[in-house]
């Protein structure tokens, strides 16, 4: 029997470890996971390491060095199913702000011996380097979604990870809309559900940490953000945080005016 227990590996690239911690945070469920899989490689939890291949690899973090670009290929070769976890692994993360700046300049300003630092000019998602089977979004990921994907993979069913807007979950949770009722800027309408509409539940606008929903409408969202008092530049900034290198959010960030040819109904 023990030979058929699937093996799980967890890998870290450029990241803050928050997503791996979400797995450790699963507590009770983690014991159940540990009973169903053999955790063969998870340095955050144990120094015990078993050689590959692995049935499921969870990959946290983005690719920011040449060495990591090679290492992710090895991980891919050793993994039957590869799941990226979090905004870094799926979209390049907040560290992709460097993609729009001069890395050499940072290096010389921040480090006493810049020549010791070997880094690529960009931070890129895992999917830019190898094939990815499933992507989990969020900064950090939602532990409910993580368990759903692990459970679905173990039982061979399709995971339930919707791509509609945060607003769906916001209304289902019974939140009061912060955009409509408080005039707070919110990226919920263009952001993928998954967090359970956490920020609006605490009276804050959505920061977009789960990345773009399935069919975001740039101009309509720009009209909403402008109606809450944001400037052109504020709109651009809102999109360029957790998913700064996501091509969809980059495109959205460039639209800072509402739909043309029609006055806003709110006016």
């Amino acid at each position: 029997m023990t030979t058929t227990v699937p093996t799980l590996a967890v890998w870290k690239f450029a990241s803050c470890d928050g997503c791996q911690l979400s797995l450790l945070d699963c507590e009770d469920e983690l014991l159940a996971v540990a009973g169903r899989v053999r955790v063969a490689h998870f340095l955050e939890a144990s120094r015990h390491v078993e050689p590959g291949p692995y049935d499921v690899s969870l990959v946290e973090g983005s690719i920011t060095t040449a060495a990591d670009a090679r290492r992710i290929r090895d991980v891919r070769k050793m993994s039957r199913t590869l799941v990226t976890i979090g905004a870094c692994a799926t979209a390049g993360g907040v560290q992709a702000l460097r993609n729009f700046a001069d890395v050499d300049e940072f290096r010389s300003l921040v480090y006493a011996r810049p020549e010791y630092v070997s880094a690529l000019a960009t931070s890129t998602p895992i999917a830019a380097h190898v094939d990815v089977d499933h992507e989990l979004h969020g900064c950090p990921i939602d532990r409910g979604q993580l368990l759903e994907v692990i459970t679905a993979l173990l039982l061979g069913r399709r995971p339930d990870v919707p791509a509609h807007s945060v607003c769906f979950q916001c209304k289902q949770r019974g939140n009061v809309c912060v955009a409509v009722a408080h005039g707070t800027p919110c990226l919920g309408p263009v952001t993928r559900a998954g967090c359970g509409a956490l920020c609006p539940a605490y009276r804050r606008g959505c920061y977009g940490c789960f990345g773009p929903m399935e069919t975001p409408n740039a101009a309509a969202e720009a009209a909403l953000l402008r109606a809450t008092g944001l400037s052109d530049e504020d709109v651009r900034r809102m999109y360029r945080t957790f998913h700064t290198a996501d091509p969809v959010f980059i495109a959205l960030s460039e639209v800072t005016a509402g739909p043309a040819g029609r006055p806003d109904d709110r006016a």
């Binding site: 173990l154 807007s165 009061v176 409509v180 309408p189 975001p216």
Partner: protein
């Protein structure tokens, strides 16, 4: 049931506002879970009331397309606010509900479990438009061959205390839809709130025996014809002060003819396909199943959660989604709600509550979209 003819119900009575406390206490003493309006996070929401003190006394609402703000009233009206982000749908057809669960038994077979029996709800403060919405949900969820057990479990044995409207909100249009601002049936008790100077009264009518019984236990006095007439006039005047109007004429015909209208592109340019309108609409009933298994695979549950025709997966058939554009999805919502609903369920799917107008983050107003479609068709 013919409205207005209830020979055995008692004549209208008068309650002081302070008697709301006795009313909520009486309902709770009878074992009801009392659901009603209360303030949370800058809106009037529907939640369990443990006493009448939870009601939003003195709270008014300023609302418009894509906008909703609480404001302080200069009186202590308990029902001086128009529709918030929730409706009675949240209670009767909840956002997420367990449909069944099953466990694998030692011999390898599956044993199914029934969902738990629901509580008995008293719905306090149901507006006439929302009363009409409950009737729509009754037809949709219990009118077919299979009554929905989650809905009937929550709906059966309801006690409904309606509150007529004397101050319509800026996004209300119940009088165009024939659902308000007054009501004559479908309730156990109906209140009309009168606040004037130092006076704060409710004219109360009983619509059922159970309503009459509860009323008999309250500190009520007979209402004279003068005050009953005042209440009637206040409701009548409200009918002329609606913030919005739905265009008269056959909307099913208009929408069928507007299938190819260029106006759908115009509204799609503004629509976020965020799904808020269908979630807040008191009659949108669509759900999607959600299968949950634990890690061992020995315990499985089927849940269902609200879905929306604005979700891409909603129209997913093999090979892809049928309605991919925002244009197709907005058209589905409006055409179902105001058009094909008639053929499917024998009434409009819209009761004129205005929620989808106020709670649309893009401020899209279906009454204006209908006008624009009519204009585009005529032009």
């Amino acid at each position: 049931m013919a409205s207005g003819t209830r020979p055995r119900t008692p004549p209208p009575a008068l309650l002081d506002a302070t008697a709301l406390e006795a009313l909520v206490d009486a309902l709770r003493a009878r074992g009801f879970t009392v659901m009603g309006p209360t303030v949370r996070d800058g809106a009037v929401v529907i939640a369990e009331l443990t006493s009448a003190a939870d009601l939003p006394y003195g709270v008014g609402v300023d609302t418009d397309a894509g906008r909703y703000r609480l404001r302080a009233r200069d009186d202590r009206a308990a029902f001086g606010h128009s529709a918030g982000p929730q409706s009675w749908k949240n209670v009767l057809h909840p956002p997420r509900a367990l449909v069944w669960s099953a466990d694998r038994t030692p011999d390898g077979s599956m044993a199914g479990g029934e969902p738990a029996r629901e509580r008995r709800y008293a719905l306090l403060g149901v507006r006439p438009c929302d009363l009409a919405a409950i009737k729509v949900l009754d037809r949709v969820l219990t009118g077919g061959r299979q009554a929905d057990p989650v809905y009937t479990g929550r709906r059966d044995g309801n006690l409904i205390i309606a509150v007529e409207c004397t101050e319509p909100g800026a996004v209300c249009f119940c009088s165009s839809m024939g659902t308000g601002p007054g009501t004559d049936d479908g309730f156990d008790l109906a209140l009309t709130e009168l606040v004037d100077g130092g006076e704060h009264l409710f004219v109360v009518r009983a619509g059922t025996g159970e309503g009459a019984e509860i009323l008999a236990g309250l500190p009520a006095r007979p209402a004279d014809e003068g005050i009953v007439e005042r209440a009637r006039e206040a409701v009548g005047a409200a009918a002329g002060r609606m913030g919005r109007t739905m265009r008269p004429g056959s909307l099913p015909d208009l929408l069928a003819e507007a299938r190819g209208s260029p106006h759908w592109d115009d509204v799609a340019a503004r629509c976020l396909t965020c799904g808020n309108c269908t979630m807040v609409c008191p009659t949108c009933f669509c759900t999607t199943p959600e299968d949950v298994t634990d890690l061992t695979g020995d315990h499985a549950e089927r849940w269902r959660r609200w879905d929306s025709c604005f979700d891409l997966d909603f129209s997913y058939l093999h090979g892809g989604s049928v309605r991919t554009s925002g244009r197709a999805r907005y058209r589905q919502w409006l055409t179902h709600k105001l058009g094909t609903w008639h053929e499917q369920f024998g009434s409009s799917g819209c009761v004129g509550c205005g929620r989808c107008i106020a709670w649309c983050p893009a401020g899209i107003d279906l009454t204006r979209e209908i006008d624009a479609l009519a204009a585009a068709g005529a032009g």
